[in-house]
Symmetry: D3
Subunit: 235 residues, 6 copies
C-alpha cells in the first residue's frame, strides 16, 4: 500500500524527522511518501500560522487524490485542514490529533497532552472540546519550549517531557501521555519505559491506524460533516 504523509509546515528538517519515524514505523508492505508544502509557515504554533498553512496543504491533498495513494496523513498535531481534506478525498485522511486521541481512549481512563507553549493549551483544550472528549482529558500541560528548541535540543526536550509527563500522571491522573507535537517524535519509547504508562507518538500511532484502515478498506463518511463540497467559482 502507498500512504502519503503531508507535513503541513514548510520545515524540511521537520519533514525529515517525520520521514525517519515513519520509515522506522511502517510495515514492509507499506510505502510512505513524506512531503511538505513549498509555501507557508516553517512551524505551526498559532491559528495565524494555520491560516497560511491550510491552502497549500489542501492543494497537496487535491494533487494526492489524483495519484495512487491508499491513505493520507496530515502530520501536524493541530489537524490543520483535516475537515477540508476529508471533504475532497476519496481515500481516507487521518489527522495526528484525532487519531491519537481515539487510540488513547483505548489505553487508559484519561489522557494527558504535552504541548509546546502555554498559549497552545487553550487551543488544545478547544480541540478536545470540539471532539466531545473533555470527560476523558486529564490535563494539557506546556513544555514551554519553542518548536525550534524542540527541534534542535533533543536532550533538553526529552528531560522536560519526562518531568512534565510525570507530573501529569501523578498530579492530574493521566494514564496515557500524548506527545502533542510532531517535533517531539522520537522520544516516546524512552519516556514510556521510565513512566510506566503508554506514551503516544502521534506519527507512529496515526501511521499504524492508517495502515490498518487501508487493510480494512474503510473510508470516512461522505455524508454530513465530510460531504464533498459543491462546485463553485473561486476568484
Amino acid at each position: 500500500m502507498n500512504i502519503l504523509i503531508i507535513n503541513p509546515n514548510t520545515s524540511e528538517h521537520m519533514t525529515a524527522k517525520i520521514r525517519a519515524v515513519a520509515e522506522a514505523t511502517k510495515r514492509d508492505d507499506c510505502e510512505v511518501t513524506i512531503i511538505c508544502p513549498a509555501r507557508g509557515p516553517v512551524t505551526i504554533e498559532s491559528s495565524y500560522d494555520e491560516a497560511y498553512a491550510i491552502a497549500p496543504t489542501i492543494d497537496l491533498i487535491k494533487q494526492a487524490n489524483e495519484e495512487d495513494y491508499d491513505a493520507i496523513i496530515l502530520a501536524c498535531f493541530c489537524d490543520v485542514g483535516v475537515e477540508a481534506a476529508k471533504e475532497i478525498s476519496s481515500v481516507p485522511v487521518f489527522g495526528l490529533e484525532e487519531t491519537t486521541l481515539s487510540i488513547a481512549l483505548l489505553l487508559g481512563s484519561k489522557f494527558g497532552i504535552m504541548t509546546e507553549k502555554r498559549p497552545r493549551v487553550a487551543m488544545k483544550e478547544l480541540h478536545v472540546r470540539r471532539h466531545g472528549l473533555l470527560e476523558r482529558m486529564a490535563s494539557i500541560r506546556p513544555l514551554e519550549l519553542s518548536v525550534a528548541e524542540l527541534d534542535t535540543n533533543p536532550e533538553g526536550t526529552k528531560a522536560a517531557g519526562m518531568a512534565l509527563a510525570r507530573r501529569m500522571v501523578e498530579e492530574d491522573g493521566a494514564e496515557v501521555i500524548i506527545m502533542g507535537c510532531a517535533a517531539m517524535a522520537g522520544y516516546s519509547d524512552d519516556l514510556e519505559r521510565e513512566l510506566g504508562v503508554p506514551v503516544l507518538d502521534p506519527v507512529k500511532v496515526t501511521l499504524k491506524v492508517a495502515e490498518a484502515m487501508v487493510d480494512m478498506g474503510v473510508t470516512h463518511s461522505r455524508l454530513g460533516l465530510y460531504a464533498p463540497p459543491t462546485p463553485k467559482e473561486f476568484k
Copy 2:
C-alpha cells in the same frame, strides 16, 4: 467610531447586501466600511471553501490593523478565521456566529439555527460543541437551498425560513431563531413578527454588539487562545 466589516467570500452581491443591512443598522456616530477579498470562493459552504477563504481574509485583517478601525467584524456565519484574526488584532474582532450565539443566550432558553443545506448541520453542531453551548441548542435545521438560491430568490427563501422556524419553535423547543447565513440578512423582522420569538440577523446583532464594545473600550484577551503569534519565517 469606524468599524470594518469583512465579508470573507468574494461575492460582490453578498457584500452589497451586508452593506445594506449594516448601513440600515449602524448608529449615526458609526462609520462602517464593508469589503471582501479579491481572491477566494464566491460562497463559503464547506471546510474546503473555508480553506481558500481564510488567508485572503487574514490578509485583510492585517491591513485593517494598520488603518484606523475601532473594531472588525468577520461577516460569515461560519466564523472562518476568527481565532487567527483575534491573534493579530489589537482592536476587537467579532465573528457573526460567536456573537449571535452569545446574544441568543440572553433572549431565550434555547436557540435554533437555520442553515443552508443538510451537510452544514453537522458542521454547525460541531461549532456549537466547540463553543461549549450544546445544552442551550434546540436544533439546527437546513433550508435545503443553496447560498446562490438564497441570494437570488428572496421570496422563496423567506417562505422556507418561515416554515422551518415555526417547526423549530413548535417541535424542537427553540425560543430564539438564528438565521445562520449572512445571505439570509434582511428577513428577520418579518419572521419575528409572524413567529412571536426573536429572530436574529447575525449581521445586525454583531454590528450592535461591536458598537457597544467599542464604546466600552474592551478588547478580547491577548493571553491564551488569542495570544499574538510568535514571529517566524513564512516560505
Copy 3:
C-alpha cells in the same frame, strides 16, 4: 432611549455607586434611571436575602412596564428575579450575570468570576451550570471580603481583586475576569491595565448591551421559559 436600572437591594450607597458607573458609561442619547426597592435586604449575599429581595424587585418591574422605559437592567450579579421579570415585561430585561457571561464568551476561551465570600462560590457555580456554561468556566474564587467591606474599603478591595485575578489567570487559565459583584464596580480599568486580560464590570457591560439591544429593537422570547404568566388569584 430610557433605561431603568433596578438595584435589587435597598442600599442607597450601592445604588449611588451603580448610578455613578451607569452615568459614566451610558451613551449621550440614553437616559438612565437608577432605583432600588424600599423594602428588603441592604445587600444580597445568600438565597435567603434573595427570597426577600425578589417580590419588591418584581413590584418595581411591574411599575416600570407601565412607564416609558425601553429596557430594564437588574443590577445584581445574582440575577435575582430575572426570569420573573422577563415573564411580565414587554421591554427587554437584562441581568448583570447572564449578560456578562454572554459577553465574556466573546473575549476569551474561559472566564473566571471573582465573588465576595466562599459560600457564594457554590451558588455562582450553580448559576453557571444553570446557564449550561461550565465548559467555559476557568474558576470562581472568593475575595473573602464582605459586601460591606467591598463598599467601604476601595483600596483593599482593589488590591485583593488584583491578586485574586492574577491567580485566576496564571493558575486557572482564565482569559477574561468577571467582577462578580455590583459593589466592585469602578476598578475594572485599573485591573485590566495591570493584568493584560479583559476585566468586565457587569454594570458597564450590561448597560452597553442593553443600549445596543434597544437600538436593534429585540426583546426576549415570549414563548417558553419567559412566557407571560397565567392570570390568577393572589391572596
Copy 4:
C-alpha cells in the same frame, strides 16, 4: 417524629389534597403537619408566581425552625425557596423536585417528567440542568391542563397522564415517570399498574425520604451552597 409540610401556594384545596396523600403515606410513628402561607398565589405556574410565593414560604420556614419539627418538606414540584430554606434551617429540608429526581435515578436509566403546561417544560429542563442531571432525563412533556383543571377534573387528568406517560416510555425511553405537579398526587398507583414502570408521586417519595433521613439523623451541609446567611439589615 414530626414533619412539617409546607405547600408554598395558598390553595386550601391543594393543601388538603397534599394532606390526604401525606396522611395515607406517613409511618405510624410520624406526625405530619401540612400548612400553606396566608399570602401569595393560589397556584405556582411561573417564575412570577414563585417571586410572590417565596417570602411567605420562607417566613413559615423561619417559624418552623423555632418549633419542634424534625424535618420540613416544601411541597411544590418547583422547589421554590428550597435553597433559602436550607440556609436558615438546622433541620433537614426537602424539596419535592430534588428528592424525586434523586430517587428516580435509582429506579431506572432515565426519567420522564410530566408537567402542566408547555411553558413549564423549559423551566423544568432548566431545573434538571441546574441539578446536573440532563444525561439521565428522557423527556419532559406537558399535560396541557391548567393546575386548576388538574385540581377539579380527576378523571381527565388521569387519562391524559396515562396517555402522556405511555408516550414518554415508548418514544422517549423513560423508564421512570415523575408526576411533576403536587396537584397530580393520588394517581400514581393506577398509572404504575397500567404502564409497568414506576410512577413517582413527589409528595409520597419526599415524605418517605424525609422520614428515613430523620431516622438517620442527617442534615444538609451547612458549608457552601447552604451556608447560613450573614445577619444584616432588612428595610
Copy 5:
C-alpha cells in the same frame, strides 16, 4: 419488613461489621439478614475481584427472590452486579454506591468520595460518569490504606479519613463526604461532628432508603435497563 443485605465479598469479618451497622440502623419493624457468598474474593478492590464476586452474588440474589424479602441491598460500594440483580428481582434492589450518590445530591452542592487506594480513584470516577453525575462531584481521594488495614486499624483509618475529608471540603469544595467503602462503616458520626458537613455511611444510607422504598411499595423499572433477561441455555 424483611431486608436482605448481601455482602458480595467473602469476608466474615466484614459481613459482621455490616451486620453491626445494619442492626444499629434499622427500624424496629424491619428484620435484616446479612449474608455473603461462600466463594469469591475476601475483599473487592479491582475489576478482577469483581469478576469473581459477581456470579456467586447473583446466585444469592436468585435464591433471595424465592424467599420472603421485601428488598435486597448489595453492600459493596462498587455496586458489583447491581444491574444483573435488578434484572432478575421482582423486589427492589439497592446498591450502596448508587443510593448514596442519590442521597448526597440532596444534602449539598457537590460530593466528595473517600476511597481505599489510588487505582480505585479512576474506577470510582468511571462510576460517577456512568451515572451521569460528574457535574456534582467535587473529588475522589484515596485513603491509601488497604481494605485489610481499614478492617484492622480503626484508629488509623479514622484519623486518615478525617484528614482526607477535611482536604476535600477545604480544597475541593466537597459539601458532603461519602465514605466509599463498606469497611469504613462506623465512623461517620465522629467525622460529621468534627467536619461540620454530612458524612455518609453507605450502609446506613442505603438501609434507610430501602426501608422507605419498601414502605412506599416502589420497585425499579422492569422496562429498559433492568428488563428481565430472555431465558436461554447456560452451559
Copy 6:
C-alpha cells in the same frame, strides 16, 4: 504475531462465525486463535448473562497470559470483562465496543449503533456515557431480533439492518453505523455499499486495530483504571 480472540459466550456457532470473519480479515503475518469458554450463557443479551460469562472469560484471559499471544480480543460488543482483563494482562486487550467506538470517531461526526433488542438500547447508551462519548452519538436503535434469529436468519437480519441503518442516517444524523453485535458480523460491506456511509463490523475493526497496536508495541496503561489487582485470598 499471534492474536487470541475470546468469544465470551459459549456458542460454537457464533465462535465459528467470528473465526470466519477473523480469518478473512487478518494479515498474513498474523495468526488468530478463536476460543470460547466451556461454561456460561450461549448468548449475552443482559447484565444477568454477563454476570455468568465474566469469570469463565477471565479464566481464559489468565491462561492466555501464560501463553504466547501478542494481543487479546474480547469478541462481544458488550465488552464484558474488559477492565478485569486489562488489569491482569501484560499484553494489550481490546474490547469490540471500545475499539469500534474509537475508530468511528475518526470516520464521521456522529455514530449510530444497531443493537439487538429494545432493552439493550438503555445498556448501550449507558456504555457510551461511561466512555464519555455521548456528544458523538447519533442514536442507538434496536433490530428487535433475538441473537438466535440474527444467527440463523441472515437475509432477514441483513434487510432489517439495512432499513434501520438508513433511518439512523436520514433521521438521526448518523454518519457512521456500528453493527453492535458480534452476530451481525459479515454484512458490513453490503450495507456500506448501499448506504454510502462506513458500516463498521466490530470484529474486523478490532482485529485490524489489534494488529496495528501489536506492530507498534503499545500496551494499555498499568497505572490507574487498569492497575494490576492486589493479590488476595479467594474462597
